[in-house]
């Protein structure tokens, strides 16, 4: 089995390419996706696809988020598998009716007669662009029955989970963190991690509804997603030097959620710390914390604690963004306090 080093952008592009080769019902739509000599989407993920698949299957749209998502819903209902892109994840709010009232509910309202097998890709995460280009929005979708929510942290997961999402017969909200893309040249993000990994060349799927244990440990369970996984792993390294052995779990799929694995981890370590980049109130961590409180209450030696962005819109200045996005230091301090009591 051959593989090569890929950034997340390359991994996502590879997934789209393989899916579109395999099944003519897969197509992509959004702004600036296939224009000749253009960007390849907000972050170059679709670059080059229109050369192979043409401009009907790599469909450029006007700035019409309602129509982009609505058309994806309609096409999905006729048996296509559209992958729609919002240029920035924050723009999904322009078309939220189509996501929440339409895509999420059609399967249910029609008593299973119509399904909506679409994927909606959202570039998310603070990246020095200000409040309307930076939000992590998992919680809105986690709260809506009928949607699946995926948020990978690395290229290998990104490719496998995008393919799994495309073949899933339900609407999937697929969050991609801007600082993890690893774009080259002009689209390279400042302070991005550029994680590059060996990724298999062939098509493979990582089943939705799974989490990944990135670092086994005994003393405290740290749950995180996307960029925060990397922060958590850095924190775990620092903590291990103090004799605190942290278990880091990548919550790469929020819906469906593998509560069992998280619960077993919590019961083993007796302490849970959730690290999330979305706002504290009603964030995804709140839901996971509530579930763990129900399931693992009698095994907990410390309160389930969240390190999240404060309840403010995302600020732009680097000095303020640093306060907003949970830092390695904050994770270390909080984890230490939980372990020490």
């Amino acid at each position: 089995m051959s593989s090569r080093a890929m950034t997340m952008v390359e991994a996502l592009r590879d997934a789209l390419r393989l899916a579109m080769r395999q099944d003519p019902s897969v197509f992509v739509l959004g702004e600036d996706l296939g224009i000749a000599g253009g960007f390849g989407g907000g972050f170059t993920v679709t670059l080059g696809l229109s050369e192979e698949f043409g401009h009907e299957r790599v469909m450029d749209t006007p700035i019409s988020e309602i129509a982009i998502i609505g058309a994806a819903v309609g096409a999905a209902m006729t048996g296509m598998r559209p992958v729609a892109e919002m240029q920035y994840g924050d723009f999904v709010f322009c078309g939220m009716d189509q996501v929440i009232n339409q895509a999420a509910k059609i399967q249910y309202m029609s008593n299973g007669q119509f399904s909506v097998p679409l994927v909606l890709r959202l570039p998310v995460g603070a990246s020095r662009r200000g409040a309307q280009h930076s939000q992590c929005s998992e919680a809105y979708f986690m709260h809506t029955p009928g949607l699946k929510v995926v948020s990978p942290s690395n290229p290998y997961d990104a490719k496998g989970m995008l393919l799994a999402s495309i073949w899933d017969n339900n609407p999937v909200i697929f969050l991609e963190h801007k600082l993890l893309y690893g774009g080259k040249g002009g689209r390279k993000e400042k302070t991005s991690l550029d994680p590059v990994m060996e990724v298999p060349d062939e098509a493979y799927e990582i089943p939705l509804g799974t989490v990944a244990i990135k670092r086994p440990g005994e003393d405290i369970t740290i749950l995180a997603n996307m960029l925060m996984v990397h922060r958590a792993l850095e924190a775990a390294e620092i903590l291990s030097q103090e004799g605190i052995d942290a278990e880091v779990i990548d919550v790469r799929c929020l819906v469906p959620l593998d509560v069992e694995t998280i619960e077993l981890s919590a019961k083993k370590t007796t302490r849970v710390l959730i690290v999330e980049e979305d706002n504290l109130t009603g964030g995804w961590g709140a839901e996971v914390a509530a579930r763990l409180a129900e399931k693992a209450f009698y095994y907990l030696d410390a309160p389930i604690t969240r390190v999240a962005a404060p309840d403010v819109p995302v600020p732009c200045a680097p000095a303020l963004e640093r306060v907003y996005v949970p830092s390695v230091e904050k994770v270390v301090i909080t984890a230490r306090a939980l372990v020490k009591g």
Binding site: G243, T261, S265, T270, F297, Y298, D301, A302, G341
Partner: protein, 415 residues
């Protein structure tokens, strides 16, 4: 024209200030630069001057009122004509002369009542600590909490359990026993210390010993090894045989494949066997799941992988959880026999000694045979003597007739 007098940023850290006193009254002429009111911030009391010439038209805020920075507090006009029209001011602090504001109902404050339950003082403890203290029958009142809020934590309960038994404690400074080197107990060592302490203080252990003739088993393993080599498989070891035998024996006496939890005995339907693996820094107990459904060669593959991963620190969470019974084999170190500590929450652990050649009675003759001593430690709350004996007998029979170990494998599962 009418100008607003606005509270400027006075360099305070807080955003509210209090008007202490007005130095002018309506109708007075003010000059730019002269103070017209006094204000207290969270840092200091300051006089604020007028920024333009004019006549005071209206004072909008009474002294003693707390207002945010930027509030319009007075109006100044450039004409002394005080009948000029009032302009609407865009803030909430108005002179209240013409308004008759009804006092809105103020909800009652929540009055915190003293803790009433069970007439005792309120004790903070983590849910885990509470459960452990309950299981160990130690009243929470007797435990000192080390948490920041004074709450009792798991380690405090463990400490309490331990100090119930230790008559004296030793401090690193104590030199009555000569020089001392103190090493903090962390990581794996700490886990082992806690778990074994807990096990021995909570679980009533008792023991059953049996001697097993392994001569047939040794010969059998040679054949297995030859077969395995032909197939390119891992060769089964003594340990693999004992795992299989134990799994089948547990099927025979399922009462041991259990755990006491509060007031219930939980009988596990699946058999997952933990294998104690020694490492330089301590021990790990990786788990062979559904050990009764694996044939010898699969077991050989699994145990060699687990041991390898244990040594490399690459065991997954899944590999380390879920055991319902454990086996510890120290035979390779030459021990005749030893007694193992039960791994909570299990109810039993099997300790295996070396397979050694000693004189034994065989067909009424004294001949050299290969013997192994096995010691079973069981939880007397869950397992009675007869059950333990039956298990050991079954275990022995299986190992002394090893061919049987290859027969019963109704559902083979792959890893």
């Amino acid at each position: 024209m009418i100008f607003e007098v606005v509270i400027p940023n006075l360099g305070a850290t807080g955003s509210d200030v209090v008007i202490e006193d007005w130095l002018v009254k309506p109708g007075d002429y003010v000059q730019a630069g002269k103070p017209i009111y006094v204000v207290t911030t969270d840092k200091a009391t300051v006089e604020v001057e007028a920024f333009r010439n004019g006549y005071v038209k209206e004072l909008l805020v009474k002294p003693g009122i707390r207002v945010p920075l930027g509030t319009v507090v007075a109006l100044i006009t450039d004409s002394p004509d005080l009948q000029a029209e009032k302009i609407p001011v865009n803030n909430q602090i108005h002179s209240t002369s013409s308004l008759d504001v009804k006092q809105l109902e103020v909800p009652e404050k929540y009055i915190e009542e003293p803790f009433k339950k069970s007439g005792m003082r309120r004790i903070l403890a983590s849910p885990l600590a509470r459960r452990m203290a309950n299981e160990a029958r130690i009243p929470l009142e007797n435990i000192k909490g080390s948490g920041k809020q004074g709450q009792i934590l798991q380690q405090d309960v463990q400490q309490a359990i331990v100090s119930q038994h230790l008559p004296e404690s030793i401090s690193p400074e104590d030199e009555t026993r000569g020089r001392v080197r103190a090493v903090p107990v962390t990581g794996m060592r700490r886990t082992i210390a806690h778990r074994t302490q807990l096990s021995k203080s909570v679980i009533p252990h008792y023991y059953a010993t049996i001697s097993i003739d392994m001569s047939e088993a040794k010969a059998f393993l040679v054949e297995c090894a030859a077969f395995a080599e032909k197939k390119g498989w891992a060769a089964p070891t003594i340990t693999d045989l004992t795992i299989r035998a134990a799994a089948l024996a547990l099927g025979h006496t399922p009462q041991i494949n259990a755990s006491l939890q509060d007031d219930d005995i939980l009988f596990y339907e699946d058999i997952h066997i933990g294998l104690v693996v020694g490492l330089p820094e301590g021990v790990l107990v990786p788990v062979i799941h559904h050990a009764d459904r694996k044939n010898l060669y699969t077991l050989a593959m699994i145990t060699s992988r687990l041991k390898e991963n244990a040594r490399r620190g690459a065991l997954s969470s899944h590999d380390l959880i879920g055991s319902t019974f454990s086996i510890s084999n120290l035979g390779m170190f030459g021990l005749d026999s030893f007694i193992a500590v039960i791994n909570p929450p299990e109810a039993g652990i099997l300790a295996l000694g070396a397979v050694r050649q000693i004189p034994a009675v065989w067909n009424d003759q004294v001949v050299p045979r290969w013997l192994m001593t096995a010691v079973l430690s069981v939880d007397h709350r869950v397992v009675d003597g007869i059950v333990a004996a039956r298990f050991m007998d079954e275990f022995k029979q299986l190992l002394e007739h090893p061919v049987v170990l290859t027969l019963t494998a109704p559902e083979e599962t792959s890893e």
